[in-house]
Symmetry: C2
DNA sequence: TTCCTTATTGCAACTTTTTGCAATAGCATA
DNA sequence: TATGCTATTGCAAAAAGTTGCAATAAGGAA
């Protein structure tokens, strides 16, 4: 759980607090490494921290995402999933079989710059999901 | 409501049926022109078609999206919104004040081709939301 | 027009996510 | 180490979204 404690200074610097609930949720995400749903996270977290509630899990995930410690993604079923914030990347997902692959942010860097200069917005999030058909599923159409 | 009836052949060609519920929902989306939540759509639709249920609205929206008559989008709060499928476009939204702007798909066309050749996937959906800070909100940081 | 197949709907029960509020507990300060 | 401010949590109730199943009705065929 020391991995999670490392985040404390980041939070304190912004006037927030590190709590057992936040530690636990960060710990779960850190060691999973993959996208997890709030319910997945709740199930794991309650093993490590008896008494944690679903409400807190939802609120904490939103909080951690706002503060850049985790990233959320829509993987097509209309539900959000979360992962610890590591390298910047995006996803491509097959509408048919659900297979996914990662796309490095470098591939989108130029587009991001174009969008920024065209719109005046500064883009802050880099975790987009593109949908399509994987090579296999393209055959059987 | 004739606008909605125009969609009937598209559905029948695929073995589906046009129903009062589908007509009404298409009618609502067609005349709104903007992104609407399922609840918004339900509230409007029930004025035009007494007795329509929320269940049907959710199922119909998913059905229409699968068949390309409407598009769904995640606008950041974790909830889906829907709109009638017109020109291909994307969105940029401000994380701070919520302001949005549209981005023509032409701006992403090259990226889409790159992603397709790099991944082997054929990208089918073009309705992505990018998040950032609008010009105004960049000042007050 | 009538009949028949089966796609579609409504209902009810259930799961997931959100919200207001009072109680709790980080952590900065002394 | 003790104190106080207020960020954070848990609880309970509500809102949003999903699912199984029996009843209904669209629309092709006769
Ligand atoms: Mn990811
Ligand atoms: Mn749109
Ligand atoms: Zn596939
Ligand atoms: Zn803004």
């Amino acid at each position: 759980m020391t991995c999670a404690a490392d985040y404390a200074p980041q939070l304190r610097a912004r006037g927030y607090r590190m709590t057992p609930q936040r530690m636990t949720i960060l710990h779960v995400l850190h060691h999973s490494g993959k996208h997890l749903s709030p319910v997945d996270i709740y199930e794991q977290a309650r093993k490590e921290l008896h008494g944690i509630t679903e409400t807190t899990v939802y609120r904490t995930l939103e909080f951690l995402a706002e503060n850049g410690l985790v990233r959320s993604a829509h993987m097509g079923n209309g539900h959000l999933v979360y992962e610890i914030a590591r390298h910047e990347h995006h996803h491509i997902k097959c509408r048919n079989c659900g297979s996914e692959m990662e796309v490095d942010h470098a591939l989108l860097a130029k587009l991001y710059r174009q969008l920024e200069s065209a719109s005046g917005y500064r883009l802050t999030d880099s975790h987009v999901t593109f949908f399509g058909l994987c090579p296999d599923c393209q055959k059987g159409e």
